[in-house]
Structure formats: C-alpha cells, structure tokens
C-alpha cells in the first residue's frame, strides 16, 4: 500500500483545481505521532475533562451545603421573629394594657366639651 504525501497532494491539486483565495501552502509537522501516542493523548484528555467535571460538580454540591446552611439560618431567624411578634401582641393585648400601671392611674374626665 502506498500513500501520497501532503506536498504531493497539494502540488497535484494546485495544478488541477486551483481557485482564488485557496491556501497554497500547507504546514507539515516534522513530529510524527504513532497510534499509541494518539491513544494516550485521547485518554489524557478524557481524564482531564473528567477531573474538570468532577471539580465543578463538587463545587456545586459545596454551594448546596452553603445554601442549606443559609436556609436554616433564615428559618431560625423567621421563627425568632414570629416569637417576638407573638410576644409583642401579648404585651399590647387589651388585658395587659388595662392592667398596666399607666392605665390604672388614668381617671375619667369630669366633663367633656365639644368643638363645634
């Protein structure tokens, strides 16, 4: 089996199918990689991509734990706020107000005048 070299291919192409704006010079690397090297490189790329994926996935999961922690804090603060609102409502309930020292010190007005 024989192969046509790249330069030979382009050379013949130039002669037969030359077109405007078509590359007329091709880079030919002097480094030649065999099939084993190709396989190793592909395996390495897959490994690197896998590691990148794992890193990102782990980082996202880490955010989940942060979010969960913040959610818990929000829930706890919300509960505390609710407790304070209940306490506030109890302290300002009519019975408490009526029994307060301020209310007890109040007196009924002797007379009421109206502005007409």
């Amino acid at each position: 089996m024989s192969y046509q070299t790249t330069s030979q291919f382009y050379s013949s192409r130039r002669q037969t199918n030359w077109n405007r704006n078509q590359n007329t010079v091709a880079f030919v690397s002097s480094v030649k990689l065999g099939p084993v090297a190709h396989t190793v490189l592909i395996a390495l790329m897959i490994t690197v991509l896998g590691l990148v994926y794992l890193t990102q996935a782990t980082r996202a999961t880490g955010y989940d734990y942060e979010a969960q922690k913040i959610d818990s804090q929000i829930a706890e603060l919300s509960t505390k706020k609710g407790d304070l609102e209940v306490e506030n409502a109890r302290l300002t309930a009519l019975e408490n107000v009526q029994n307060s020292n301020v209310a007890k010190a109040m007196t009924t007005p002797a007379a009421t005048d109206y502005v007409r």
């Binding site: 996935a57 996202a60 999961t61 955010y63 989940d64 734990y65 969960q68 509960t79 505390k80 609710g82 407790d83 609102e85 209940v86 409502a89 109890r90 300002t92 309930a93 009519l94 019975e95 109206y114 007409r116």
Partner: protein
Amino acid sequence: MQLSFQKGSRSLILGGLLLVMMAIFVARLFYLQIIKHDDYVAQAAAEQVKPLTIPAKRGLIYAMDGEQPVQLVMNQTVYTMFVDPQTVTNPTKVMDVVRRVAGGNLRPNIDKLIAKKDTRYQIIGTKLTRQQAELIKKEELKGVGFQEMSQRVYPEGGLAAQTLGFVNAEGNGQYGIEEALNDRLVGHDGLLKSVTDISGVPLTIGNQNINKPAKNGENIALTIDRNVQAYAEKALAAGLQRSHATHGSVIVMDPQSGKVMAMANLPSYNPAEYTKVEDASAFNNPVITKPYEPGSDIKTFTVATGLDRGAIQPDSTYVNTDSIKVEDRTITNATKGQTGTITMQTALNYSLNTGMVTVAQRLGDGKNITLDARRTIYDYFHNRFAFGQKTGIELAGEQPGIIISPDDQEGNAVRYSNMTFGQGMDLTMIQVASAFGALINGGTYYSPTVVAGTVDTNGTLKPASPKPSRSGVISAESSAKLHEMVHTARATFYAKNDKPGYDVGGKTGTSQTIENGKYVDNQTIGTYLGYGGDSAPRYVIMVEVSGKGLNLQGNKDAMPIFTDISNWMIDYLKLQPRG
C-alpha cells in the same frame, strides 16, 4: 511474519473462554443497562430524590383597633419532644434536664415512657417553646429529638372566641371564621423534590429537581373592633351576673355598612384550650346559629310595614281593649291598662299586641288578616327584611330560621297575627339586627359581614369589596318615621339612662319559650334591640339573655346591657351631641 494460534492450543482455548465471558458480560450489561434501564433509574431516583413538603403558613386573623388592624390569631412554632428509648444512655440525666427546662409541658410518667426499651419512639413533651427546645438541645442528650410544628396562639385570650373558632389537630378550621374561610386561610403547601445526600440535604444535581414554593394562607382582617368586642363581653358578663341569666348574646353592628363590630356570647371558651371544653355547645355562636322567637322586638318591623304600605301613621288611632279576636283565638296584651282610643306610637311604647294585630288587619280589609295582608307581611318580612334565610355572613354554622309562607297551610291568620308581635317564626339575632339597620338608616339593607379585608405582609389593610346591599327596603320617609317612633318608644320611659343630646332608640322584647310543644310562662327570653348615633344612626345593638327556668325580661334584664354598651359606644366613637 504472520502469527497464528496452533489448533487446539491452550492459548486458543483461553482466548475462546475469554471471548465467551466477554459475551456474557456484554449480554448482562445489555440486559441491565438497556432492557432494565427504566427500572433501575426509578430505583435510584427513589433512593436519591426526596420529595420534601414545604408547609404553607396558615393565614393570620386580625381585628380592628379603630382603623388599625391588630393581630387576634397568630401562628407560633412549638416543638414536640420525643425519645428513642433504645438510644437513651442516661435516662436520669434526660429526666432531670427535661423536668428542669420544660416541666409544665411534659407528659405524666415520662420515666415509664423512657423505660420502654421495646419501642423506638415515645413522645414525652408537647408544645415546647423554641427557647425550651434550644436549652434542651444544648445538653446534647442522646436519644432525645424534637419535631417542629405550628400552632395557633391568641394574644387576646378568649376574645371573640365563637367568631374565631379554632384549628383542630389535623389543621382544619372548626367553627367561626376558621371553618368558614378555611380554604382562604390554609394556603397551599409547596414541594421541593431534589436529589439529597445521605443526611437529606437537597443537592442541585440531576434533572428531576422541582422547587414549587408554598403559598401561604391569606391574612384576614375582621370588622370586629377589639375594643368594642371587649367592652361588649364585659357588659354582657356584668348583665348576666345582675340577672342571674346563664346565657347571653350581644351583637353590635354599623347600620351604615352592615359591618359587625362585636359579637359576644356567654358561656364562652378559650380557643387555645378548646380541647378542655366539656360542653361543645360553647363552640356555637348563638347570634347566627340559634333561631328563636324574637318577641316584641319584631313590633318595629310590623309598624315599619304598616308605615311603608300607608296602612298606618304614627298618630293613627285604634280602640284598645287589651284583647283582640283573630278567628277563634283571642290575643291579649302583656301590658294592660292602656285602653281606649290610642295611637300607634302608644301601642309601640307599651308594646301592645293588639296594636300590631290592628296593623295586620289594616294591611288587609281593615277587619281581618286576609290573604293579601299575609302576603304583604311575608313580602316585607321574608323578601325585604330577609327573615327566615341565611344572611351569608362569613361564619360557619349559620341557620336560616323559619318563616311560614301565607300559601302554606300553616300560614293562616292566627299565625300571622302572632308574627306581628314576634311569635310563630324563628329568627336569628343577626337577621333581626341586620334588618333593623335598614329600618333606621333610610331603608337600605346591608348584608352583614365580619370580613374587613386582607392584610399584606407589611400590615396594610386591603379592604374587601362591599357586600351587596338593597336600597328601598322601605322608603326613606317610612324609615324616618319609624326612626322617630323607635326613639320615642325608648325616650318615653328610659331617656334618663342615655347621655343627653344623642339619638338613641330601641324596643324591648320578652319572648315566651316553647317546652314540649307549648308556650310556657315560667321561662322567657329577654331581648333589647336598639340603635344610637348623632346626626345619623352609628350603631345597632341587640342583646339577648336567657336561662333554663328563668323569667327574663327585655326591659329589666336585657336593656341595661344595651344602655351600658350604648353609652360607652358614644364615647368610643367620639360622637358629638346634637344641638
């Protein structure tokens, strides 16, 4: 050089075996990953994807404090404390700590519950506060856990208990507004469906995550004014103590809008401790659930009908002999002695049954309560005043009452003569008070309501759409005449009880009760129906007192409660005296 295995060599056999094994693996993997794909994905999802319910918060209930909404029913997070007896390593310490921190919330015999080593879950305390739960958690007791839950709390205690109702252990509203508006209050739970880690923390991986937020229930503001409600309850309690009545109800309404400002009943209960109530009838709100024969309060409606139909005027006269015959029955007056030619105003002042029967006769041919007269009365009572039908108030358990049509066999002249003075029909207080508002406000019937609107998260009130109203129930002229007659009826005898310069009017009612199908004289219900205001009526108050085997009178037992509340309302509403 070409490599080839020797025929029958061990390498060839080994290669063949490997090929077969690989084929088996491939086949098995094909089965697991292709054929059983969906099954295993479902199993994995069931294990990893956890659906978590996000509970919706039940809406709060507000009352009014003048123009400002104030919280009447709130939610509070409380904790149920449980133990896993098999995990508890130091029962003595557990008991010491929980008794010290939450002694009042513990179940009896917690030592026995903790000692039940054959079980894994025993509740040892309920309704612990957050502070109590945190203090116990700090002790790091092994085998002790907490379950969070929400419960209703009532900062004003038992105020307006029957209007509010309560929420049962299943989270459903029972009685009052809690039951009637349960769907609006309850909200909708949300759903968080997500892949979780081993400790249940949701993770944002996978494509099956659902995050549907909870929709909290609406915060409902009532038209109930907490100050009016508190005073009405106080005045009712004092009135019952004076008269030794065992049951009583009061309703205070705004006749210009139909808004209920107070609805008080005794005996009552504390909704926070509804489980301790022994007599479940305490949950009912008799103002809307207990139809009864309203008695002489209804005479104002009979007079209004006569005025509106032109059958009578306030100064129209008739000859009172203290009795009047209707078919084969003789109807007598409870108050005797006002005999001779008297006016309809006098008949109303003295609450004379003969005067009311005369009105009914004049609605017919002048001598008899004809079918036309009965149809007219029915049209006014049922269609215009909305007696005998539910008012549509936003409270659970409202009863329609009964009013017999003249086309019914029982709707004869005798029944309709009784109806003119409040017998022979069963009405609720809410029906009577709402219709009375129409009689004195110029003739517009406002459907009663207890819902002022909704309150947003900032505490701002968004008013509810007005409920339907009907104008022309009676003409404005008839309303003005009746207004003056009712004022005169009160002023004739009780003017000294009212603050001078204000427009206050009312009518007493003393209703006989029916025992074993017959009217009895030794048990009566006392009622008072009246209004107060300045240049226009600002409030309607209806009072009812009753008790087993008690003779309670409208003027003696119910009216003082009206007077007490009425005089207080004048100050509270800052009404200015006329003139």
